[in-house]
């Protein structure tokens, strides 16, 4: 399933790049170049061939792990991406991780203590967190923690301290969804009959919540985590801009603006593969958590 999806994505992106206005040769030579020079460069770069031919050539190269050279810098695309990819990966991973570690317990507590003060406050806080625009939050955190308190550096990620503020910004953005989703699935599950049975059996409330209720509520939560991770990979763009982190989001935007086709294609492919892998992992996790799904796979095998 992954392979047709990735191929499809690459074809769509390539087509869009070919059909939208903008001439890579003109971008490279600048606005002052003469038409003649632009035409010569286009010939050199092979831009005048039909775009389907160019696409097939590109895929051929990719299968041999040759992603081409960036139009903008002239250097192999792969080196740039490999520098930036880990940054975005780390940001997305820890950002989502933080939001899960904080959000899920809050959601569970909210569900268990439904309608209590804790519940109302946490819902209100979740609402506030969704409403805050990410870049405003980032800038405010910078102002308070970097300028006024001086705890963290204002730019870049030269040491681990530089990661804290962007991760917090990312986490706050996705935490609200985590809290609400956990809360609603937990609420559903707690009302189920098997929970009543467990209580009747005399199991401690804590074990009921942790073991029985949570495992059943986990499926939608994991789906959300998978989707959120995909979103963050594609563009922790705002965080990258505000905190000056060299990541995939800013790379893709710059490359699209400059019509740096090899870079855009390679970045999209990388991100698509990462997201597909994560979703694959999520599917496998489903099987681990839910025996019903596991048995489905096993049945299919027979």
């Amino acid at each position: 399933m992954m392979i047709p999806v990735i191929l499809g994505i690459s074809l769509i992106i390539f087509t869009i790049l070919a059909l939208t206005p903008g001439d890579p040769a003109q971008m490279i030579l600048g606005e002052n170049a003469s038409l003649k020079d632009i035409e010569i460069l286009r010939e050199e770069m092979g831009l005048n061939e039909h775009f389907l031919i160019r696409y097939v050539k590109y895929i051929g190269n990719v299968l041999r792990f040759n992603f081409g050279n960036s139009y903008r810098t002239g250097l192999p695309v792969i080196s740039e991406i490999l520098t930036r990819f880990p940054n975005t990966l780390a940001l997305a991973f820890f950002g989502i991780g933080l939001s899960v570690v904080i959000g899920v317990p809050i959601g569970i507590a909210s569900a268990v203590k439904q309608y209590s003060i804790f519940d109302t406050v946490s819902l209100g806080v979740a609402l506030i967190m969704t409403s805050i625009p990410a870049f405003w939050l980032g800038l405010m955190l910078l102002l308070v923690f970097s300028l006024n308190l001086g705890w963290f550096p204002a730019i870049g990620i030269t040491n681990w301290k530089g990661f804290i503020l962007p991760i917090v910004t990312l986490a706050i953005g996705s935490m609200a969804v985590m809290i609400r989703m956990t809360r609603s699935t937990m609420l559903e599950v707690i009302r189920e009959d098997y929970i009543r049975t467990a209580r009747a059996k005399g199991t401690s409330e804590g074990r009921i919540i942790r073991y029985h209720a949570l495992r059943n509520a986990l499926l939608p939560i994991i789906t959300i985590i998978g989707i959120n991770f995909g979103l963050q990979m594609g563009g922790a763009m705002i965080c990258e801009t505000v905190f000056s982190i060299p990541g995939m989001g800013s790379l893709m935007i710059t490359s699209v603006r400059q019509k740096d086709i090899p870079m855009v294609m390679a970045s999209v492919l990388f991100v698509a593969i990462a997201i597909s892998l994560i979703n694959l992992l999520i599917d496998i996790l489903y099987a681990t958590i839910d025996p019903r799904i596991k048995s489905q796979y096993e049945k299919a095998k027979r």
Partner: protein, 546 residues
């Protein structure tokens, strides 16, 4: 029941609170207003924070207290396209590369041209040949000594490269005369030739290094400049180190780091905390806050670029109706556009040559702001009922503001003006390359602060269409003035020619020049030698810490 009521009441309060918050949060996500909001907070906290930060930063940055700092971190908003001198064709790249390379001549901060790698030079009778006497004992960053072969090689390279067309268009070839002398032959006697000889595009590179690795030269440049290349972490920062064998005194700043910070608000915060030492471009909205901050130094100068309203002079509504062009020219109030589009931090530009460029006509006045005259001209042209206008421009910052204000001013005199915002690549293709427009808002930048760079290729009939003369003006008298400006070697004659050209363009209302933005720079107050430059050039050799 009672708890239910209390809870419902609390929920209602939370809801109302949330509604109010969402109203404030849902403001348009424009960079400028958010920047001002953040900056306002900074003024209040900034003075307080500054006291705390000064104490902290001296502790943070000086490894040995008492040592004068010798490193500078510059925040740039975009990476240079390349570090190869023959690939540079934008001001940002020039500004970074000028620290790595030297050319035969050097342009000082006040615009004067002095000997660089050439000790002296002589012109031939007709000014089409220049013979240079080269300086001896100049070293490259890799230890080699500069020879005449390196000079010839560098010029061959620059002439062959399509990126340097603007600067090298007048040059035919460079030849070695002997080990100490080289001769440059020009295609025609070119007025501003000396500023081209000082440009980054004609810098002298090491023939050995460039031939050994042509592709990699862009990332491992070897020149003779005061700084040598150390490292480039893509998307993050570029580091230069002072070159100790520089032919003049070695630079005082030993380590130069260009840090990429794309968000202007974050860059200002980084400057205030001391994480960076200088910003090479500031936003108009931050100007007052920076000037009020005692730890920072601010300088500004009007740039060598300008924004204008252009007409398609060969096809369509404005080509057929010169009076309509005049009407638009008289309907625009340049003062208001400066205030509205650049928050007052910009200067009026009445002629098509920005004030800081050589050849700008002093005391020139553009079309007077006279809405009544505009309406009269419209009626004379037969459009007293108004006419529909579609002003095309790019969607970023200043362009859209200029276009909106101009559109409103045009509506005041009876035009039915709409603004069409286009994405940059689309604009470049449709309007710029194919001249598919009637009226638009665009800008020009002079790569060298000399009138020829911003006039000849833009308005001469030889360059009609295809991205240079996109206003499609074809006027033999104007051609004549532009040619005098280009080929004359007499400064006074050139200035007069450009004055006449500006007058003619105003009479014909070829386009309406509006404003030049300010180039503002901000740095830590104890970093001296920093000046704002009209071409955004930052020559770090002149800097030192106090």
């Amino acid at each position: 029941m009672k708890t239910r009521k209390v809870v419902t009441f609390l929920l209602a309060v939370v809801l109302v609170f949330a509604l109010i918050l969402s109203a404030t949060a849902c403001s348009p996500k424009e960079e400028k207003p958010e920047g001002t909001k953040g900056a306002d907070v900074t003024t209040a906290e900034g003075t307080k924070g500054a006291d705390v930060t000064t104490a902290e930063s001296t502790g943070k940055e000086d490894d040995q207290p008492g040592n004068v700092k010798d490193s500078v971190i510059l925040a740039i908003t975009g990476e240079p396209t390349s570090l190869d001198s023959m690939k540079a064709n934008d001001l940002n790249t020039f500004s970074i590369q000028c620290n790595l390379y030297d050319s035969l001549l050097r342009q000082e901060q006040d615009g004067s041209l002095v000997p660089g790698l050439a000790e002296s030079w002589e012109y031939s009778e007709d000014k089409t040949e220049i013979t240079f006497k080269l300086r001896e004992g100049v070293k490259f960053h890799n230890g080699d000594t500069m020879t005449a072969e390196d000079v010839v090689f560098s010029y061959d390279r620059a002439l062959a490269s399509p990126n340097t067309a603007r600067i090298t268009a007048s040059m035919k070839k460079m030849e070695k005369v002997d080990d100490q002398h080289v001769k440059l032959t020009l295609n025609y006697a070119y007025g501003p030739i000396e500023s081209c000889l000082a440009s980054v595009n004609t810098s002298i590179v090491s023939k050995a290094a460039a031939e050994a690795d042509p592709e990699g030269f862009a990332r491992h440049p070897v020149g003779t400049g005061p700084y040598m290349f150390d490292s480039w972490a893509s998307g993050s920062k570029i580091v230069f180190k002072a070159f100790e064998d520089y032919f003049r005194e070695p630079a005082k700043i030993k380590t130069l780091t260009y840090q990429l910070v794309s968000d202007p608000a974050a860059a200002l915060i980084a400057l205030e905390t001391g994480d960076v030492d200088m910003l090479v471009s500031t936003m108009a909205a931050d100007r007052d806050n920076i000037m009020a901050n005692k730890d920072l130094y601010y300088d500004e100068i009007s740039s060598s670029s300008f924004y204008f309203v252009a007409f398609n002079n060969s096809k369509g509504l404005f080509a057929e109706n010169p009076k309509l062009r005049q009407a638009v020219a008289h309907a625009i109030d340049i003062k208001s556009v400066v205030i509205g589009a650049t928050e007052g931090v910009g200067v009026e530009c009445p002629s098509p040559i920005p004030a800081t460029c050589f050849g700008t006509p002093k005391g020139f006045e553009g079309a007077t702001y006279d809405p009544e005259l505009a309406k009269q001209l419209m009626a004379e042209a037969g459009f007293s009922d108004g006419v529909k206008l579609n002003i095309r421009t790019m969607e970023s910052g200043v362009y859209s503001k200029v276009a909106e204000i101009v559109a409103e001013q045009l509506r005041q005199v009876g035009f039915d003006a709409q603004v069409e915002l286009m994405e940059r690549t689309a604009f470049l293709k449709d309007v710029y390359t194919n001249s598919d427009y009637e009226i638009c808002v665009n800008s020009y930048t002079a790569l060298n602060p000399d009138a020829d760079f911003i006039m000849y290729m833009r308005y001469h009939s030889d360059y009609l269409g295809g991205g240079n003369n996109f206003v499609m003006v074809n006027n033999p008298t104007l051609d004549g003035y532009l040619e005098t400006g280009r080929f004359s070697a007499d400064d006074a004659e050139r200035i007069e020619a450009y004055r006449q050209a500006s007058e003619l363009m105003k009479e014909e209302a070829v386009m309406v020049p509006i404003l030049s933005p300010m180039n503002g720079i901000a740095c830590r107050a104890d970093l001296k030698g920093v000046k704002a430059s009209t071409s955004q050039k930052q020559y770090v050799y002149d800097y030192y810490w106090e």
